[in-house]
């Protein structure tokens, strides 16, 4: 085990972990951050998405040692039920989820998108979220939630 320092949601914390552990397991098991979810472990579904350097990253595919000093933002870093981030609120306002297992990835990918492109078109939203899988079929509501979060007409 190595002592690894991580800056997550604005706080620096040290964890004892094998350096090749995927970041996802460190976030979940060591830092008890439940936002990022294990879906496939293959980088195919997007449910483990976090934001590093402004980019939506699959945390199941990044070894913890590769993070270095870069700041990691997880779903918890956006807001909580008492104080929601506008994107989280937009997803609730549109009731844009069912089981909600994929929604971490949808929200984090939306955050990365809107930070770069505050008023995306439908096509741009679909492209940005194409790598995030939802099995319940809430796609049309998710599209509306992203538009709402970006202050566009739903």
């Amino acid at each position: 085990m190595a002592q690894i320092s991580l800056r997550v949601n604005g706080k620096t914390q040290t964890v004892a972990a094998e350096p090749d552990t995927p970041l996802l397991y460190v976030l979940r098991d060591d830092l008890q951050l439940n936002g990022p979810k294990f879906g496939c472990g293959l980088g195919q579904c997007g449910s483990c998405t976090v934001i590093i350097d402004g980019n939506a990253i699959r945390s199941c595919q990044m070894e913890v040692k590769a993070v270095g000093s870069r700041a990691v933002t997880t779903l918890e870093g956006l807001g909580n039920v008492k104080k929601m981030h506008p994107i989280q609120k937009a997803f609730v306002d549109e009731q844009a989820l069912q089981c909600g297992y994929c929604i971490n990835g949808m929200i984090m990918a939306t955050k990365a998108l809107l930070d770069k492109n505050p008023k995306p078109t439908d096509a741009q939203i679909k492209e940005a979220l194409a790598g995030n899988l939802c099995r319940c079929g809430t796609h049309t509501r998710i599209l509306r939630a992203v538009k709402r979060a970006s202050g566009q007409k739903v």
Binding site: M1, A17, E18, D20, T21, P22, Y25, R28, D29, Q32, L33, N34, G35, P36, K37, F38, G39, C40, G41, L42, Q44, C45, S47, T74, L75, E76, L78, G79, N80, V81, M84, Q88, F91, V92, Q95, L97, Q98, C99, G100, Y101, C102, I103, N104, I107, L133, C134, R135, C136, G137, T138, H139, T140, R141
Partner: protein, 682 residues
Amino acid sequence: MKTIELSRRQFLKGTGALIVSFNLFPPASDLFAQATPGGEPDPTQLDSWIAVSQDGAVTVFTSKVELGTGIETALAQIAAEELSVQLSKIKVDMGDTSKTIDQATTSGSRTIERAGPQVRQAAAAARKELLRLASEKLGAPANQLTVREGVVSVTGNPYKRVSYGQLIGGKRFNVAIQAEGKGNDLKLAQDVKAKDPKDYQIVGKPVPRFDLPPKTTGELVYIQDVRIPSMLHGRVVRPPVINTAPVSIDENSIKQIPSIVKIVREEKFLGVVGKTEWAAIQAAQTLKVTWDKPVTKLPANTDELYAYLRNTKSFTTLKGVDKGNPTTALTKAKKQYEATFRWPFQMHGMIGPSCAVADVRGDKATIWSGCQGPFRTRASVAGLLKIPETNVRVIYHEASGSYGRMSNDDGAEDAALLSRAVGAPVRVQWSRQDEHGWEPKGPAQTQVLKAGVDDEGKIVAWEFTDYSLPWTVSSITTLLASEQIGIKSKTPGSGNGNQGGGEIYAFENSKIIAEEVPWLQSEPFPLRTSNLRAPGQLSRCFASETLLNEIAADLGVDPVEFRLRYLTGDKRGTEILKAAADKARWQKRSSPAGNSSGTTATGRGVAMTRRTGGYAAAVADVEVNKSTGKVAVRRVTLAHDCGLIVNPDGVKNQVEGNIIQGVSRALLEEVAFDGHGVTSLD
């Protein structure tokens, strides 16, 4: 306004009680959780269903569980309605076998239909008792009392009032209620009159779901998020091909991986336990195992599979309709039609794979499970560990969707075996390959249809035979780990249903049956089967509706008009089809549309079905690329009659999701396999 405020405060002062308080008291569910240690809640006790805390918050106890479809909120609406309390005051405590009554698994899209009346009657019984208590307290007969937002007052004298919290808060009702039957058929408090639906204020109103805000913030604790002190991590090592056992295990092969606790082997079951999740994952991937040769072989391709379905004697025949004599009518018919349809294996495809935590101590076990049926999981784990069911407590946490997958919680059994072996709580999560390879699939099916039409273009004969694999994994068979340690299923499984074969149409001569064909299950193998959303019905409906559309096209009749001829006497069926056609701005004509120029052909389709108490009819506007054959569904218009709607936006969300999942299943989804097992692994 000010005067009233003062008066109210003075009144409250006089009673010496608080009417409003926030979080001053633990929720009633916590108060009562200890009330039944190891004991079974009694369905004839009102306290088993409803608790009121001192702040007036109401907890409803149910073994039905939220699977992502919104039933938690809908059941809360039903309870709030009967009790006349604010919806925000209701908490639903779901799926803990030590606190709830067995209401059977959450399945069949029928929770509102089945558990709704149970919750309604329990709440109505609670209201009745609360009114009795209020009547004593306020010195007025119950028929002169009104309830608003959990406060009972005397009609015409609003200052004589008392809240539910004051009446019973934190205390048990100790009231017996009628309870007859079991599970889905349990009838509660039938002697208590519930509200007239025409007076509903909360039921029928669109409300935001309880579970969605914490799902968007990471605060909802899914089964994957459960952590128990001193919990270890387990992974099951799956054989590479069907039906094999480990012959030898090279323990040295994982020596270099730190934090490994144990390699666990019981018969054909093999797993590893580590202190960290990453250690367990690496160990399961790295462990060198020699497996023996498989003794059964799957059909190696789809042709072999459908030949197997057609040529193997069924173990049971599900009879849908048997009316008149379709065989004779067919031979006399002016025109005969015949069609065969094939439907592939499909998977539930939960985004998050199976996961469970078990803590087995001696002859007792606690299981944290994302299953659809906590009592079913309790029975399966008890059978696996050979301990009494009452020694097992199952605590539910939501999993990832389910869609029928978690009717059978294989992960709970894996975790139980590993926990027993190491004497500590163990969390097991399946890998993507485990889940796709070993989850029980929606069964493959094939249908043979024959129809006959007379001189006037009327269908006079209809023969529909569904050949389906059964659910080899069900409430009457054993799960994967049980099979692996030698506990054999005593039956070939449960049938895949027989609805959707055209039974809604009033054909003069009609025979609709489903042949359940036994599926190789002498040993565990990866092409297991089970209930997948609307089991078997997507396939049967597709076959029935496609042939009807083809006959209508052949006869030059509009397909909506054609169906309506056979829906006479079925008011709901007629209305639902007309509603879908109206909303879709259906143009009356026969199919196909005239030749289109260009590369894209456009067309439309219509289909309808009835499933238990509900009807649905859909119109799809579709484009087909003439050169590639690629289909694009541009619009689906759907009319849905599910009876009384509790949360309209909840139903809309479900219907929208089902359209997307249904279109995906109809056009895109097929589980690939070869002679050894599933090959669609990611």
